[in-house]
Amino acid sequence: MTPSPAPRPSGFSRRTLLAGVAGAAGLALLAAGCTSDDDGGTDAATPAEADRLAAQVGVQEAAVAAYAAAAAADPALGPRVAQQAQQAMAQLDKLRAAAPGATSSVPPDAGGPPPGADARAWLREQLGAAAGAHEAACAEQAAARAALLGSVAAGLRGQEAVLL
């Protein structure tokens, strides 16, 4: 990270428009699921933070299960949200990698849409709830874990929006 508050050189404007170029140094560790320090030891998880991240793994498992339940209830919906379901799984993988202590081996009981209900609307609600839970947890985390939870929450907001 380069938190330099000095006025930007002229090269900055291009960097701003080209997404995702800046700020990679500290976050690159995250991709490998590494939660060790990224700037002088401020990124070590406290036990409470580790517990909360493990809890978000369970939240994400429920979101993944909700895709399967919604597709089972409405077979026409499944193919239309297949890419999003895959992305929810990728999010789960990354959360698990960042919370190696998470042991939610019990399959989450996400239930499913009530008989006769709109499976699409039900799925949208589940995704919104998962996003909200990640957002709340994000505010209580630090550094790479906050960045990951916030990003996953935003990704779920996007998945929710697709179903509108």
Partner: protein, 155 residues
């Protein structure tokens, strides 16, 4: 982590720096949406205008926050280099998606550097709002509508 929301004796230098980068990204988005709107037919400009206003609001609120912290304002550039020519409505939507990706990266960087819980709450809210807008533009640009990790550097 101290999450009491008061600066107290926490070192906010990194957070301040990331917030300044977020202001810069919001400046760029406000400018860029002018280009987006200009490449859309008048009857389709509504979402671009809404997005531009949203980014202007966030930029102004961020500017006020920096002022509260006695930090220098972050000035907009006079113009920005476009990542590709914007000649059609599809180009416009693709540029809008790039703009939202740019602010998303800035907000994720804020999350990475934030030491105050309210700052993280602001960042995660704006990150989600940017992604919801991006979904619309990616769809219009013929791209996959969603992305699993908005703003997070690839790797």
């Amino acid at each position: 982590m101290a999450d009491d929301g008061a600066p107290g004796d926490l070192d906010t230098a990194a957070e301040d720096g990331a917030l300044r980068e977020a202001v810069a990204a919001e400046h760029a988005a406000v400018w860029g949406y002018g280009v987006v709107g200009a490449a859309l037919p008048p009857q389709d400009r509504g979402p671009a205008v809404e997005a531009e206003n949203a980014h202007r609001d966030v930029r102004d609120r961020l500017g006020a926050l920096l002022e509260e912290r006695d930090l220098d304002p972050v000035a907009a550039q006079g113009a920005y280099e476009l990542p590709f020519p914007v000649l059609s409505p599809v180009d416009a939507a693709a540029l809008a998606a790039v703009l939202e990706a740019g602010v998303s990266a800035a907000w994720v960087a804020v999350l990475d550097d934030a030491v105050l819980a309210p700052t993280r709450a602001l960042a995660v809210r704006e990150l989600g709002a940017a992604e919801v807008r991006a979904v619309r533009w990616r769809t219009a640009a013929g791209q996959v509508a969603t992305t699993p990790f908005p703003g997070l550097p690839a790797g």
